[in-house]
């Protein structure tokens, strides 16, 4: 998987390293900006309020 990506990046090692770094940063950005905020309420780590069974996250 990662080897396949590396082989399909253009340019020499330096160019590939820079592109790979940009890819990693892009993935981290998308995760922090969109994926984790979406996933967080679905996971049982952040509820702090007392509420009834129908009450959502707090």
């Amino acid at each position: 998987m990662y080897g396949w990506i590396w082989r399909h990046l253009p340019g020499n090692t330096l160019v590939r390293a820079v592109l790979a770094l940009l890819l990693v940063l892009g993935v981290v950005y998308v995760l922090f900006q969109y994926v984790f905020p979406w996933a967080e309420p679905l996971l049982p780590f952040g509820d702090v309020t007392v509420d009834g069974p129908e009450g959502g996250a707090g």
Binding site: G3, N12, G46, D47, V48, A57, G58
Partner: protein, 261 residues
């Protein structure tokens, strides 16, 4: 770095040629011998496991660090805004005593959670409000009484971890500790009477006007602080109960009450 291929991975890619040339007959000798389909599948599976591990590690970084950065930034801005709104009219009419969801009410000071500890108090305990690094005032299941109301329970919730983690050290509070609510014109000084280290998240009675499970049995002017416990989970809730000791008017210099000095 020359344009010539000096990279071992380049060499590997060249030797193996195109992606489809992986029949056994194409593997004459040496390291260019292609792995069998089972080994390839195993390799991909391993990479997926590594990816999953990285994803979980990143989520921990997000939850425990990045949400704090975001919440503190947003809470600091909102706090400055509220304080400048307070100081804007020199001696205006009494402040509005009705607050809509999301409105800033004042500040919570708890010396037991650190000198200078101060948290913005906002109406509402929905996820978006609490995510901004504030202490939220319960509006459901019981509508909280405000500190200036003649009786009732001023119930607050804040995050234990992430999103500012304002109540991370709530377990440090002991009976006798001071809890001070600062509004535009008053310091409401409460004293902690009792703590409930662990209860069910369905135990809504802890924020009732006369908190259930506490030693209070008659109406009074109470404060309740809730968060989740143990740390890093949301399995249970904890509560701290206090009652009003006195109300100090705010002077021109906003001199804090003795409990905060």
């Amino acid at each position: 770095m020359s344009q010539q291929s000096t990279d071992p991975l380049d060499g590997l890619a060249d030797e193996t040629g195109d992606e489809n040339g992986d029949g056994p007959a194409d593997a004459p000798a040496g390291r260019s011998a292609r792995r069998g389909p089972a080994m390839v599948a195993l390799g991909v599976f391993g990479e997926l496991l590594i990816t999953l591990g990285l994803l979980l590690a990143l989520f921990a970084v997000y939850s425990l660090w990045w949400t704090n950065v975001q919440a503190d930034r947003s809470a600091d801005l909102a706090s400055d805004k509220l304080r400048s709104a307070w100081s804007a009219p020199p001696s205006a009419a009494p402040p509005a005593r009705t607050y809509a969801a999301g409105d800033g009410v004042g500040f919570l000071h708890v010396p037991a959670m650190g000198a200078g500890y101060q948290v913005l108090i906002r109406m509402g305990t929905d996820a978006d409000t609490l995510a901004e690094g504030v202490a939220g005032v319960y509006e459901t299941p019981y509508r909280s009484a405000m500190p200036w109301d003649p009786s009732g329970n001023f119930a607050l919730a804040a995050h234990r971890d992430g999103h500012g983690a304002k109540f991370h050290d709530l377990d440090a509070l002991k009976p006798g500790d001071a809890v001070v609510v600062e509004t535009q014109d008053s310091w409401y000084v409460y004293r902690v009477d009792e703590t409930l280290p662990e209860t069910s998240k369905y135990d809504t009675g802890v924020v009732a006007p006369v908190p259930e499970g506490s030693s209070y049995h008659s109406p009074g002017r109470y404060i309740t602080l809730t968060t989740c416990t143990p740390v890093y989970t949301s399995r249970y809730r904890m509560a701290v109960w206090g009652s009003l000791v006195r109300v100090d008017p705010v002077d021109a210099a906003r001199t804090p009450p003795a409990e905060l000095r």
